[in-house]
Structures are given as C-alpha cells and as structure tokens.
C-alpha cells in the first residue's frame, strides 16, 4: 500500500508538471480543450441553434454570454489522477491500457455534462454558476475518478480470483 501511494504521488506530480509545460499546453492541452468546446457545441446544436464554438470558447449568439474552457475545466487533471492511480497499481499493460481508455472516456463524458450544464447555468445565474463551477463539479469529477478506479480494482480482483480457480 505504501509503495503504491509513493509511486502514485511520484507519477501524479510528474504528469502534472508535464501538463504545465508551455509546449504541452500549446500542442496538446489547448487543441484538446478546443476539441471539447466543439464537441459540446455539436451536442447542444440539435436542441439549441443559438450556440457557437470558437477556440476554447462556447457562446450564445443571442445573449452573447460565453464560457472559455480553461485548465481544471477540461478534465485533464482528473484524467492525470486516474492515469497515475492505474499506472501505480501492479497489473499487466493490457489491463492498464483498458482502464486508462475507459476511464478517460468516463471522465470526459461527465466533463461534457459539466461544460454544458455550466454554460446554461452561467447564462441564467452567475452566482450559482460560480458556486457549482468552483466547488461542486470538481468534487463530482473526482468522485467519478474514484468510482472508475474502484471498479478497475474489482475487475483485477475478479481476474485474479478466476485465475486461482482455474489453477485449482
């Protein structure tokens, strides 16, 4: 457990520092965040044609209200936590790759819900937007990471049990 925690913290700090590098921000994080804004707009457009996306910004054409998706709102930090946890845990690379892929999709799916909900909340009431944006949604995203990681551990545990049953 101690070894797992030390490895987890080392990976977490390394990946987070890597994410903060200007080169990584320019070539990976910003394009990815812009992609999130476009995907959010694509999801909203069939129901609400008054939305446009440019760069990292999502905007209502009629009211002019806009949100810019910044660090902490793109789900990258939550993904980093998940990746560090999965990599720190002893398992084969296939299982790790599967957990990271599915976990990434789970985090980003919830993150799209966060972006879209905050976009509409902000247009309605800025105080509620700020409260939910700064405090509630980050906790929900971390809860999502916790659930994905717990499910992954159980999956590995079952694999281990079935292997032992097979051997017996």
């Amino acid at each position: 457990m101690t070894r797992f925690l030390i490895l987890f913290m080392a990976l977490l700090v390394s990946l987070f520092t890597l994410e903060m590098l200007v080169t990584v921000q320019d070539h990976v994080i910003t394009p990815f965040t812009s992609l999130l804004a476009r995907i959010s707009a694509e999801i909203i457009l069939p129901f609400d044609s008054s939305v446009i996306a440019y760069g990292k910004v999502l905007q209502f054409k009629d009211t002019g209200f806009a949100v810019s998706i910044e660090s902490g709102c793109n789900g990258v930090e939550a993904t980093i936590v998940l990746v560090a946890g999965v990599l720190a845990y002893p398992a084969n690379w296939k299982a790790k790759a599967l957990a990271i892929s599915i976990g990434f999709l789970a985090v980003q799916a919830l993150n799209l819900v966060r972006i879209i909900s905050l976009f509409y909340l902000g247009d309605w009431n800025m105080e509620i937007f700020t409260w939910i944006h700064l405090y509630l949604w980050p906790s929900l995203i971390m809860l999502d990471v916790l659930i994905v990681f717990t499910v992954y551990l159980r999956y590995l545990s079952r694999l281990d049990q079935s292997a032992e049953t097979g051997n017996a």
Binding site: M1, R3, F4, L5, L12, V13, F16, T17, M20, S71, G72, E77, I80, V81, Y89, P90, A91, N92, A95, W131, L134, Y135, L136, P138, S139, I141, M142, L143, V145, L146, I147, T150, L153, R154, L156, S157, L159, D160, A163, G166, N167
Partner: protein, 220 residues
Amino acid sequence: MPEQPHMRQFLLYVFVLMVPCFIAWTTVGGSLATPAIGLVNQCLINWFPTVVDALYLDGSNALLMTRFGESNGEAVPLAGAEYQLGFRVNPMIVTVSVPFYTVLHFATQRATYLGSYLYGLIILYLLMIFGLLCLCLKELMVNLGGTFFEQPDVFVPNANVIGILYQFNVLIVPTLAPAIIWIWQGRNTPLLRSSLSAIANNATQDNKSGSPLKRKHSSD
C-alpha cells in the same frame, strides 16, 4: 453482504449528503479557514516583513494587505500612496475539501465515525494551510512582480515553482486529498476491504513473482 449493494448504498448516501454538506459549508463560508488564515498570516509577515502587512478574513474572503500603495498602476511605498494595496484571496477554494471529505466519510458504512473523521480533518487542515500559503504567494507574484522577487536577503521561491504549487493546490489537492484519506481510512470497511486487500496482496505477490495477472498467464 456482497460488495455491489455496498457500492450502491455508498453512491446513494453520497448524493443524499452532498447537497446539505455543501450548503452547510457555504453558509459557514470563509470562517472555516480562520485558524489557517491566522497561521498563514504569521508565516507571511515573518517571511516577507517588508512586503506583507497582514492577511485577515473579510466576509467570505481573505484580504492580503501589502506594505505598498498604488499610484498609476504601480506599487509604490505606502507613505506616498492614498490607498493600501491589498489582494482578495478565496479560501473556499482550499476549504472545499472539508464538505467533500465529510460526504465520502459519512456515506461509507463503518464501525465508528467521529474519531477518524476528526483525524482526517486535521490532515486536511494542514493541507489547507499550505494551499492558502500557495494562493497568497501566487497573488504576490502576479500583482507585485519584481517588487516581490527582488527583496534583499529574503528567499523567494522561483516563479515556476510558485505557479505549479498554486495550480496543484487549486486543481488537484482540494478534491484528491479527501479521496486519499477516505481510501486510507476506509480500507477495512465492507465497501473497500476486498479491493484494497487486492492492492496489498498484489503488491506482496508482485514483489515475489510479478503481478497476479502475469502469474496467471505464466501458469496458463
């Protein structure tokens, strides 16, 4: 009891407890951080005696007052300025770990609740103090620039270090710290016991002969 009902029960309690816990925390506001603000105030005025005047609670925010005033957008000595230069710091960014931890802790079925909860709060409080210090350093760095970095005979951390520590303490620590404490304290609860014993077993087995999954393939 099988694990799945424990997980469902946990998730149900999380969503039931989340709203009241977060509303109660919002009602308390920044005052939850008052002792941390006092400690960080002492730390800052001793660390940067020529720059920081005081850090104190003002409503739900903390105010970081400097020993400078402002004139034409420039920081100038207080004697030549009409107003004292101060920056608003939001302590709730770091105290948000408390309601999240409260939700996770009380949503998990366990033998005793209060003792381990208080123990967890102490750890969170130490992290809050460090987080608040990083928030203040970032404000001083961004708003005072060279005046902050060029203090004679005072060690000032590198700008990149302050930047990364600030981001880490704002984006990661407030939600990750409660999760890690919850996992650690909940390792013997019905919800987490088998999953975490798998970590312990795997770590032990991994030390001996590789991961259990590798052993499975090799045994095949």
